[in-house]
């Protein structure tokens, strides 16, 4: 395609969304449902990538933001009779608020300390859900089916709702990382002390991106609750914090397309291998080892390094 990098980047991102829109008309029922689920989970990975891939902050507590969105939406619908859209909005607001409050003091740490603080707070959030089980139904969780619009049962509605949430977060992420603010984030990732010396308020920048990252994770959590009708504490457990890390690393941290690709690859890798062996996590682990050894930049990171340096 001719044109500047901006036009190519725009075409690439819009092309992906168009391809996802078109896919629903050709996919069979199984992959149609899978893709709806992958788009919701990819939204989570896109949010995570803003923090890890572009700012260099590794979190092991992001499940609390996903769960904040899920429970914000789920509890408001279950107890207060909210509709799907107000519930979704409240879920995102809960995740944004939690990320802002958490970031305000957690970002006083960095590196391994930040990693540990995120993990501790993530676990504390998970145990809080279990502790208030009379309200949250603890690990068992609760179902929203009979409180949601009947239209949400329709696979096409699920698919396009998932696409809408994903597209909004994906395009926002692409816009953000190509903006001057995104350049500051990359500067922080590469050398925060130097960025500070240049006069940037790195603390505020990190707080903003953590809040946005948490908000996108919360949007994914709220969408999951609405589209799959279930809210449960397992989504706040540490494993759900590790997943977006793996998806992002697999697809390519610091690339906008990487988390999407990584989520899809990992989903189908688990889906395929679990039908073949009960040791599917062994196979998944082996695949990740190969990736780390031979493609440390992830799939899209390698593509960018070798073939298309213009990819953001």
């Amino acid at each position: 395609m001719k044109g500047g990098p901006g036009a190519r980047v725009l075409a690439l991102h819009l092309g992906l969304i168009a391809a996802l829109f078109a896919a629903q008309f050709v996919l069979g029922a199984y992959h149609h449902t899978n893709l709806a689920r992958i788009m919701v989970l990819a939204t989570y990975a896109v949010g995570y990538n803003l923090l890890l891939g572009y700012t260099g902050l590794m979190s092991l507590g992001h499940a609390m933001f996903f769960a904040a969105g899920m429970y914000g939406a789920g509890l408001s619908i279950y107890y207060l009779g909210f509709g799907a859209i107000p519930g979704f909005a409240l879920g995102v607001a809960c995740a944004l608020g939690l990320a802002l409050a958490f970031g305000a003091f957690a970002l006083r740490t960095s590196g391994v300390s930040f990693l540990i603080v995120t993990m501790m707070f993530g676990q504390a959030f998970y145990l809080t859900i279990l502790y208030f089980n009379q309200v949250t139904f603890g690990d068992q969780g609760f179902i929203l089916s009979d409180r949601l619009p009947a239209a949400l049962v329709d696979p096409d509605v699920k698919y396009n709702a998932a696409l809408l949430v994903f597209a909004a977060c994906f395009l926002a992420s692409a816009f953000l990382v190509r903006s001057p603010f995104g350049r500051i984030l990359v500067a922080i990732r590469e050398n925060e002390a130097r960025a500070r010396l240049l006069g940037y308020d790195t603390y505020t920048c990190k707080l903003v991106v953590l809040t946005l990252s948490g908000g996108m994770s919360g949007a994914a959590g709220a969408a999951y609750a609405l589209l799959f009708s279930y809210v449960g504490a397992s989504f706040a457990a540490i494993l759900n914090s590790i997943y977006p890390l793996l998806w992002t690393l697999l697809g390519g941290a610091g690339t906008t397309l990487g988390p999407v690709l990584g989520t899809g690859l990992m989903f189908y890798l688990v889906d395929f291998t679990s039908g073949w062996t009960s040791a599917y996590l062994f196979v998944v682990g082996g695949a990740l080892l190969v990736l780390v050894l031979f493609f440390p930049l992830g799939v899209m990171g390698t593509v960018r390094a070798k073939l298309a340096p213009w990819i953001p």
Binding site: Y30, L130, G138, G141, I143, S145, G232, S234, T277, A279
Partner: protein
């Protein structure tokens, strides 16, 4: 190995197509095994030739990995044994039964995905098999949306509570509310009326906390304390001093790897001067009662849904069931005496498959079209009891079609010389409670 051959192999051997150990031994051995299986495939087909129609395909949602793996291993063996028995005896409505297993990782997210996969990729007729409550609750909405008959062997009260949907049934095992309620008269009458409860601080524990405490109070007893123990706890010494001194019965339902530590520390705390102790076998499913760390349980009592030791229920049906599943008189695998079964739960997989058979045959179900599915569900809702016999070795059961839930007798056993000896059998009446739901009012 083709997918069909894999499934046939799984049914015949009662194992997953490839286990972890098998994977690690891959290489020349795997190649040889694959060649042998391919060679045997035509022989396997002969078994299916008894039926003259397409097989009834049943998705088996199994906890092969994750926290439920011990249960899952035995659930799969039991389901495979039941399917093999059915196929040797005419199948279902003259059609062979084919189990299509998928691992849900004991995870509600994966559970929902597996239900979708069964419905849209495998094209099965029904799904059955999950145990853990959170997996059932996470998967059930998708089963309902996909109008997939979903048979759970979960023991949880979530089916009878009305919180799921019209497509979900639990016809093979009594729910925990009825179980704990049935225990209360015997506990209050024989062990004591002042009870302290120690339970895990999550859903499984809450059912005990809520329903056993109410049942004890209905018997004129009282609860001295309810001590919830966080699931992350690995030592329990700080909880035993919280047990009030006037406690006559200590009721425990701890589960998971910490149970051996729990019992050991309970013994260290009480020594020989202990209250009566009553627990649920859930704590010790898959664990040898004669394990050194469990010696303190001597003289205490446990609930069982189906006695682990063969002499606990001496009936032809039970002997037949144990022989077909492959468990010895001590309740362990006939192939490995150290591999102790989960006998108080897994019989539900056996019995559920026979309920499916009866529902298919009485409803005239042929394929998963809306009319046949509706007829099947209405047939199930019309059932009121299941007689004791080969299809129901655990015993006679009443079935409440409005609640989609069955109710059977329960057993209380004493730990004697490192074994379990049945001392009491409850009646179905002991566990009855007021119904809170009616699924038949929901549209199909």
């Amino acid at each position: 190995m083709s997918a069909d051959t894999q499934r046939t192999h799984a049914i015949r051997t009662g194992s997953s197509p490839v286990t972890r150990r098998a994977l690690l031994k891959a290489g020349a051995g795997a190649a040889a095994a694959g060649a042998a299986s391919l060679a045997l495939a035509p022989l396997s087909r002969i078994a299916w030739a008894a039926g003259s129609d397409e097989p009834i395909r049943i998705g088996f949602q199994v906890h092969r990995t994750g926290i439920g793996a011990t249960y899952g291993r035995w659930y799969e063996r039991t389901a495979n044994a039941a399917a093999t028995y059915l196929n040797e005896n005419g199948g279902i409505a003259g059609r062979p039964v084919e189990l299509v297993p998928e691992d849900d990782g004991t995870d509600p997210k994966r559970g929902a995905e597996v239900v979708e996969k069964f419905a849209t990729a495998h094209g099965v007729d029904f799904v059955y098999g999950p145990l853990f409550s959170h997996v059932v609750i996470g998967s059930a909405p998708r089963a309902g949306e996909l109008k997939m008959p979903y048979f759970v062997v979960s023991e949880g009260y979530h089916v009878a509570s009305g919180s799921l949907n019209r497509y979900v049934f639990q016809p093979g095992i009594t729910d925990v509310r009825a179980q704990v309620q049935a225990m209360a008269p015997w506990v209050a009458g024989n062990l004591g009326r002042r009870v302290t409860m120690m339970f895990p601080d999550y859903a499984f524990g809450y059912d005990h906390r809520d329903y056993f405490s109410a049942a004890v109070e209905a018997q004129g007893g009282s609860i001295a304390a309810k001590i919830a123990i966080p699931p992350t706890e690995s030592s329990f010494t700080k909880y035993f001093p919280q047990v009030p001194a006037d406690t006559e019965v200590l009721y425990h339902v701890m589960v998971g790897p910490g149970v051996l530590t729990f019992v050991k520390e309970m013994g260290e705390h009480y020594g020989s001067n202990r209250p009566q102790i009553f627990g649920f076998i859930d704590s010790l499913e898959g664990v040898d009662i004669a394990s050194p760390g469990l010696s303190f349980l001597e003289g205490t009592y446990l609930w069982e849904a189906l006695p682990r030791y063969a002499d606990g229920l001496d009936s032809d049906a039970n002997r037949h069931y144990r022989e077909r599943v492959g468990i010895n008189d001590e309740g362990a695998s006939v192939d490995d005496p150290k591999d102790v079964s989960t006998n108080s739960h897994m019989f539900g997989c056996w019995e559920t498959l026979f309920v499916i058979k009866r529902a298919v045959e009485e409803s005239g179900y042929r394929s998963r079209n809306p009319d046949d599915v509706a007829a099947l569900i209405e047939a199930l809702e019309g059932f009121d009891s299941f007689d004791e016999g080969i299809p129901h070795p655990q015993g006679y059961k009443e079935f409440n079609g409005a609640l989609h839930q069955c109710y059977g007798r329960q057993f209380i056993s004493e730990v004697r010389e490192g074994r379990l000896a049945v001392v009491h059998t409850t009646s179905i009446e002991d566990g009855k409670y007021e119904a809170e739901a009616d699924y038949t009012t929901q549209s199909l």
